[in-house]
């Protein structure tokens, strides 16, 4: 069974159709890159998979582990193993990162019928993961993402990914706002989480990110559809020729 099956998905925002019949199949262990120009619907796809309000699905379906994802609340999707790393992670003043992480992790475990982590066990786990990602303890004491640099925010997303151990990670424009060093650190974090049980969907505008996170498959989106799919060499091809010819194809 595929991990994620998006079939002929049609999505509207207010009166505008953004996705016009998009299909995508992702199997465990695979890393897919979705590339495309601004406005092609890349982020819409990630938001709809995660369950963000404000999108109306007018046709098609999304199956996750064979279940109808569109019927689930965002928190149920998270508990089932869907993780969206946000393009712009929000700042939440007054909510300490540590408290947030524990509350979220235990909420997911509770939803799955698993036992909640005790405080010492949780602290141990978080410290291990933070260390492996070079996240200073001080960052965990601050409000969620408050005053974090772009790189710190992305690292915090990857920390959560490592902590929640999702089976599907969607990375929405992970490279936006990062300099080359921050990008490398973030990509190393993501690569460390690659595993045969876990799939990743990397959404990006630029080929650059894919030098660090090397995908198994590349899909080109244009005007709300996947217009071409191929191996990692497709990304290089795009880098040379640009999106224009795919836009014509759409």
């Amino acid at each position: 069974m595929s991990l994620l099956e998006v079939k002929n998905l049609q999505v509207r925002v207010e009166d505008r159709e953004i996705l016009h019949g998009l299909s995508l199949t992702v199997n465990p262990g695979e890393v897919h890159a979705i590339m495309g120009p601004n406005g092609s619907g890349k982020s819409t796809l990630s938001h709809v998979i995660a369950g963000k309000p404000g999108y109306e699905v007018t046709g098609g379906e999304i199956l996750f582990k064979g279940e109808n994802l569109l019927e689930m609340a965002p928190d149920e999707r998270a508990a089932k193993g869907v993780f969206l790393a946000f393009q712009y992670p929000v700042e939440i003043p007054g909510v300490a990162t540590m408290n947030f992480l524990r509350t979220a992790l235990n909420a997911q475990r509770k939803a799955r019928g698993e036992s909640e982590y005790s405080t010492p066990d949780f602290l141990k786990k978080v410290r291990e993961v933070a260390k492996s990602l070079n996240i200073p303890q001080d960052m965990l004491k601050r409000g969620v993402n408050v005053g974090f640099s772009g790189g710190e925010k992305k690292r915090n997303e990857i920390l959560q990914m490592a902590l929640f151990e999702p089976s599907l990670c969607i990375l929405d424009e992970m490279d936006s706002g990062l300099d080359i060093d921050a990008l490398r650190i973030a990509a190393d974090g993501v690569n460390a989480l690659r595993s045969p049980d876990r799939a990743m969907v990397v959404i990006t505008h630029y080929q650059r990110l894919l030098n660090y996170i090397v995908p198994d498959f590349v899909h080109v989106m244009s005007k709300g559809r996947v217009v071409k799919s191929g191996g990692k060499e497709l990304a290089l091809e795009l880098e040379e020729s640009g999106y224009a010819r795919f836009e014509d194809a759409a």
Binding site: P53, D75, V90, I92, V95, T103, A104, A107, A111
Partner: protein
Amino acid sequence: MNVALAKTDTGSALEAALAAARERLPAGGKVADIRRQALDAYERTGLPHRRIEDWKYTDLRVLMREVLPLAAAPDAAVLKRAEAALKTAAIEGTRRLVLVDGAFAPGLSETNGLEKGVSIRSLREALDGGDGALQAQLFSLDTSNPMVALNSAMLTDGVVIEIADGTVLSRPLHVVHIAAGAAASSMFTRSLLRLGKNASATLVESYVAADGTRTYQAHDSLVIAIGDHSRLDHVRLVEDAADAVNISSSAVTLGAHAHFNIFGMASGAAVSRYQATIAFAGEGSRVETNGVNLLRGRQHADTTLLMDHAVPNCASREVFRAVIDDSAHSVFQGRIIVRPDAQKTDAKMMTRALLLSDDAEADNKPELEIFADDVTCGHGATSGALDESLLFYLRARGLPEKDAQALLIQAFVGEAIESIANDALRDLAEATAGRWLRARA
């Protein structure tokens, strides 16, 4: 509404109550005269209504309708109920001073082993002592406010706390107002805290009801005088019964280089109003007022503050947060006066309301009256719903909707709660907010 008739009815009922209770009311020295004048002052308006500017958003003729009869002096059964209520209302590590249905309850209070420099008496005792200056201070509240006037006319008891110069009181004082009456009634209390020079203390006040208490109105008033170089931390927790009314008035004066930090939280009572005047009488002093309203159902809570900067070089901060669910109504009126001499005043006021339902209402009325030219003054007010993008982020991380909301609400009120200096009291306020949130889920 026939206003004239309502006023006459209320007035005559009160006069009858006052006459009937004469035996029980302190009346030494000039007190009887003061009461008479206060009653006259009250009767000129009766219950304040929306056409009185200060009461525009809190029309007591609609919200209270009438002043309930004076509570009977607590009998053994009432005291027993009050004692049971203390099991949850008592705060560990504090010195407890208990008022039951408007009467000081020595048997439930901890008045022995007082620290050096601390004097605690009931209001009745203090008034009977015949100290003219003390009497004047006790009646220094402005009776042009009808509810202050009513309180002055009807007050039965209270706690008078005097802390001598140089006394540093590490154990907080906890004044517990317990309603425990078996009949619908009103209680009228007045307390005083006088803090000398170079002294510091923490005062907690909480308002609760015993199980089985009939509907009631708590009319409280408090005079606070803070001496030079002294610091007072004050925490107020309004946790009255769901059908109760709580009208509390306060007058605070600060000497020079003094510090007053107050945190108030209203989660109980159907109708509550906290009206306070804070006056700077000496230079170099600082006031921080922080408030939180947690309201649901049809609750109405009003905070009306007057910050009076009469002298130079003082600073005041007002931070107010309201969380309003269902068709509840939160009011904040903050007036800052900077008088001509009060140069280098630094006064700021910020209020934020979180509306959790379409029927929730928040009214903010900031007023700045600035008569000095070299000052920093500012105010801001916002109101709105929970931020959808924050909610989605939390939900995408696995938090169910109510839990995500609770986390954001807790963060929203957290800024005000963090202002409490005493760790145990801060934890207590957080726990109270936590209980409110859990009841929502």
